[in-house]
C-alpha cells in the first residue's frame, strides 16, 4: 500500500487565523458568536492595545473594510490599509513577498481580501501571524457568514430547523458558500434558488441537506429567512440570461414576501441594487435586516480580531 507522508504539506496556519467556515470547528463558531454578543464598539475595552493589524485589500470593499477597521480601532489596535493600487503590488510584488514585507514591518495580524480563491490560505501557510480571510474570490467570506448567523440569532431562537432561502447568483457568491457551511452545520434547511447559470446543480453538493430550485415560490414557501444576493450586472455579459427575465422571475417583491412566514426576515450582504434583485419596498420593509447586518459586522469582527490575537476573554 501507498500512503502519503506530510512532507509536501506546508506549515499550519497560525493560531487565530480565520480562513473559512468549512474547516472551522463547531465550538469555534459558537465561541465567536458568543464573544460577538459581548462586544460593544461603544464601550470597548482596549484588548488589542499596541497591536498592529494590516488590512490588505486587493479588491474594492466598503462594508467589510470599514467594519474591520472600526472593530480593530475599537479594541485599541493600530490599523494600516494596504491596497493593490498605490503599493508595490502594482509593481508586480508577489502575494507571499507582500506578506513577508508586512510581517517584517511588524504586523501582528493580516486581514486580507483577494480576488483569487485560496489567497489567504497561501499566505497563512507561509506566515507565523494570524491571517483573516475578508473574502477570497468565489470561495469564502467567513466574517460575513458569522455576522449573518449573529443577525439571524437576534431574531430567531435557534438555527436548527430554520427554512432559509438563498436567491440569486450563487455561483459567484463567496458569501453563500460560507453561509451554507455554517447554517447547514447547525441544522438549518437551505434552498438555493436561481437560474441554472447562477445556481448549477452541483451547488447542492456544497453542504449536507441543500436543495436547489428554479422557482421562487418553492424557495419562499414557509421560509424563515430570505437571503438575497446582488445581481452582478457585469457578469451577465455572455450569459444567456436577460436582465428583465431575471427581474420577472427572481426579484424579491412585496407580493412574493407573502409566500414566506409572516415573521420571515430579509437579508442581503450588500451592496443592494434597488429595482433589481429586490424592490425598494422590500429593502425598506420592517422585515428587512439589511442595515442590521452591517451594524452587526462590527462586534462580529471585534470577536474575530480578539480571537486572532489571543484576547478572546
Amino acid at each position: 500500500m501507498m500512503h502519503r507522508l506530510p512532507s509536501y504539506a506546508m506549515n499550519k496556519p497560525a493560531r487565530g487565523s480565520l480562513l473559512g467556515i468549512e474547516h472551522l470547528e463547531d465550538k469555534e463558531i459558537l465561541g465567536l458568536l458568543k464573544l460577538a454578543r459581548r462586544m460593544n464598539p461603544l464601550k470597548a475595552r482596549p484588548l488589542l492595545r499596541n497591536k498592529r493589524i494590516v488590512l490588505l485589500f486587493y479588491e474594492a470593499s466598503t462594508r467589510t473594510r470599514s467594519s474591520f477597521e472600526i472593530a480593530a480601532k475599537s479594541l485599541g489596535a493600530m490599523t494600516t490599509l494596504v491596497q493593490s493600487s498605490g503599493s508595490s503590488i502594482e509593481k508586480g510584488e508577489s502575494l507571499l513577498d507582500t506578506g513577508y514585507t508586512l510581517r517584517a514591518v511588524g504586523a501582528d495580524a493580516i486581514v486580507i481580501r483577494h480576488p483569487a480563491a485560496g489567497a489567504p490560505h497561501l499566505m497563512a501557510k507561509h506566515l507565523d501571524i494570524p491571517v483573516i480571510n475578508a473574502g477570497d474570490g468565489m470561495h469564502e467570506h467567513p466574517s460575513q457568514a458569522l455576522l449573518d448567523a449573529f443577525t439571524i440569532l437576534k431574531h430567531k431562537k435557534s438555527l436548527k430547523g430554520l427554512q432559509i432561502a438563498i436567491i440569486g447568483d450563487i455561483y459567484h457568491s463567496r458569501v453563500t458558500r460560507s453561509n451554507c457551511h455554517l447554517l447547514s452545520r447547525f441544522g438549518a434547511k437551505i434552498t438555493l434558488c436561481g437560474p441554472p447559470e447562477f445556481v448549477p446543480d452541483v451547488a447542492a453538493t456544497l453542504s449536507p441537506g441543500l436543495r436547489v430550485t428554479r422557482h421562487m415560490e418553492e424557495a419562499l414557501r414557509g421560509a424563515d429567512v430570505i437571503m438575497l444576493l446582488r445581481l452582478q450586472k457585469e457578469r451577465l455579459a455572455g450569459q444567456k440570461i436577460r436582465l428583465q427575465d431575471y427581474v420577472a422571475r427572481y426579484q424579491m417583491t412585496a407580493a412574493r414576501m407573502k409566500l414566506a412566514k409572516r415573521d420571515a426576515i430579509v437579508m442581503h450582504p450588500g451592496p443592494i441594487i434597488r429595482g433589481l434583485e429586490l424592490t425598494a419596498e422590500v429593502a425598506d420593509s420592517p422585515q428587512s435586516k439589511i442595515i442590521d447586518e452591517v451594524h452587526n459586522g462590527v462586534p462580529t469582527r471585534m470577536a474575530i480580531l480578539a480571537r486572532a490575537l489571543g484576547k478572546a476573554k
Binding site: 501507498m2 502519503r4 483569487a116 480563491a117 485560496g118 477570497d136 458558500r177 453538493t205 456544497l206
Partner: protein
C-alpha cells in the same frame, strides 16, 4: 559505467526475468548487448564467450527501455525550469531510455533548426531525445508548419501541445499533411473556449473551492471531432495526448473500432489522483488536463487494462518554485513525473488494480514505440537498440522530491511510499543510471 564513452562494448545482463511484450517473452532470460545493439537473448546460462561487463539481474525484471511520449524539457528558453541534461537525467532515473519532447518552449520549436538543436550532442542528453515539433507556426493554430522539413530534421510527430488545434480546417489540414508524410498529429484536446480562467476539473470540488472548472466535455468534444476527422482522412494518424476523461475514451474506442489510426496516452497522475486531492489549493496538484472525477479515473483504469490506452506518458512539466508558490488560479499548470511513473504504475496498476506486469511494460515500451514508429525500440529483439530498463517490482522505497534529478520540485508525490523501483537504465548499451 562503461569505460569508453564513445564506443559501448559488450554487456551481459544475467539472471534476470525478461518481459518483452512485443516479442511475447515473459521468462528468465539472459541478454547480451554489444556495440549498442541487442546481440543475443537466450535462456539462462546459454550465452557463451567473454564480455566486457556483466550485470547481475537476479531477482530483477529486464524490459525494453521505457519510452516517454510526452515530456517538457524546457529548452530552448526556459532552462531555469529544466534543461535537456537535467530532464534526461531524471528520465534515466525513472527508467526511460527515450523521451519525446514537446515544442512549447521559448521560442516554440516550429522550424528544422530548433529540431536539430534539440538533438545536438552539446545538449548533454543521457537518454535518446526525439523532438516533437509544432504543428502550426508559433503554435498559434493559424498556419501549418513545414511538416516535411521538420520530419527530415528528426521530428517524430507534430503538436501544439499546451494548446489545442481548435480550428476544424487547420486540424483537417494537419491530419491530411500528416497522412501524406506518415507523421502523427498529437492533439492537446481542450476546447479553450469553454475553459477560460479555469484552473481545475469542473465538479463539486471546484464549486466548493470557488474555482472555475474545466468541464470533461471541453476535452471530449475535441477528441470526438478529431476522431471523426481521422476516420474521414485516409492514412491519417491521430494521437490523443494525456487523455483524462471517460467520454474522451468513448471517442477513442469509436475510432479504434472503425480501424482509424487513433492512439492515446494516459498519465500516471490521472490514473492515481482525483480532483479532490488538490486539498486546500495545493498547486502541486494543478495541471492541464486537470485531475478528474472518480468515474473518469475508473474509466481510465479499465481502458489501461483492456488495451484502449496505448501508452503511459508522464507529461513531465517542471516549473520553478516561484511559479507554483502563488495563488492557485495564477499558478503554472503541470507537475514533474519522470521519476515516479514506474513506481506509480506498479503500486497502483499492478498491485492495487491487478493489471499484469507484461501489460504495464507494454504501456511503457511497445505501445509508445508503435505510436511514433520508433524503429528498433520498444522490444529486445536481436539487432534492436540496446536500450534496457531493469527494475525491481517488489522494492519498497520513499520518493523524496528534494533528491530529484530534475531541476524542479513540483511533484504531488513527495514523501509517497512506493513499491517498485528502477534499478538500472541502459541506453545504447551503456549504463545511464544505476540505483545506489
Amino acid at each position: 559505467m562503461a569505460n569508453d564513452k564513445s564506443k559501448p562494448g559488450s554487456l551481459l545482463i544475467k539472471g534476470g526475468h525478461v518481459i518483452d511484450p512485443a516479442a511475447k517473452i515473459n521468462a528468465p532470460m539472459d541478454l547480451l548487448l554489444r556495440d549498442g545493439r541487442v546481440a543475443e537473448i537466450a535462456l539462462p546460462n546459454k550465452i557463451r564467450g567473454g564480455t566486457d561487463e556483466k550485470f547481475d539481474a537476479r531477482g530483477l525484471m529486464v524490459a525494453p527501455g521505457f519510452i516517454d511520449l510526452h515530456v517538457h524539457l524546457r529548452e530552448p528558453g526556459q532552462s531555469y525550469k529544466e534543461t535537456i541534461a537535467t530532464g534526461t537525467a531524471a528520465a534515466a532515473a525513472g527508467g526511460f531510455t527515450s523521451v519525446c519532447t514537446m515544442p512549447n518552449t521559448a521560442p516554440v520549436v516550429d522550424n528544422a533548426e530548433w529540431v536539430a538543436w534539440l538533438r545536438h550532442a552539446e545538449r548533454g542528453a543521457v537518454v535518446n531525445v526525439f523532438p516533437i515539433a509544432a504543428a502550426t507556426v508559433h503554435s498559434r493554430g493559424a498556419a501549418l508548419t513545414d511538416f516535411a522539413a521538420l520530419q527530415r530534421a528528426g521530428a517524430i510527430a507534430v503538436t501544439d501541445d499546451g494548446k489545442p488545434i481548435l480550428d476544424d480546417e487547420i486540424m483537417r489540414a494537419a491530419l491530411r499533411l500528416g497522412a501524406e508524410l506518415n507523421l502523427p498529429v498529437v492533439q492537446h484536446a481542450e476546447d479553450t473556449r469553454l475553459t477560460e480562467n479555469a484552473s481545475m476539473h469542473e465538479g463539486p470540488t471546484s464549486f466548493r473551492l470557488g474555482l472555475r472548472g474545466m468541464s470533461a466535455a471541453a476535452e471530449a468534444s475535441v477528441v470526438d471531432r478529431d476522431v471523426t476527422l481521422a476516420q474521414q482522412i485516409r492514412e491519417s494518424r491521430l494521437h490523443v495526448a494525456h487523455l483524462s476523461t471517460s467520454d474522451a475514451l468513448k471517442a477513442v474506442r469509436r475510432g479504434k473500432r472503425a480501424k482509424a489510426r487513433v492512439t492515446c496516452e494516459v498519465t500516471p497522475h490521472h490514473f492515481t489522483l482525483l480532483d479532490e486531492d488538490v486539498g486546500e489549493y495545493n498547486t502541486n496538484f494543478k495541471m492541464n488536463p486537470p485531475l478528474r472525477s472518480a468515474s473518469d479515473r475508473e474509466a481510465i483504469l479499465v481502458a489501461l487494462a483492456d488495451g484502449t490506452v496505448d501508452a503511459i506518458a508522464t507529461d513531465h512539466a517542471p516549473h520553478a518554485t516561484h511559479e507554483k508558490q502563488v495563488e492557485f488560479e495564477r499558478a503554472a499548470f503541470g507537475i514533474t513525473g519522470l521519476e515516479t511513473a514506474l513506481a506509480l504504475a506498479i503500486t497502483k496498476l499492478h498491485r492495487e488494480h491487478k493489471i499484469p506486469l507484461p501489460r504495464i511494460v507494454d504501456l511503457f515500451t511497445a505501445g509508445p514505440a508503435h505510436i511514433f514508429d520508433l524503429r528498433g525500440r520498444g522490444s529486445l529483439a536481436r539487432g534492436n537498440f540496446a536500450d534496457v530498463t531493469i527494475f525491481d517490482p517488489k522494492k519498497r522505497w520513499t520518493f523524496e522530491a528534494a533528491k530529484s534529478r530534475s531541476l524542479s520540485r513540483n511533484t504531488p508525490f513527495d514523501g509517497w511510499q512506493f513499491t517498485g523501483k528502477v534499478v538500472a537504465t541502459i541506453v545504447g548499451g551503456k549504463i545511464a543510471y544505476r540505483a545506489e
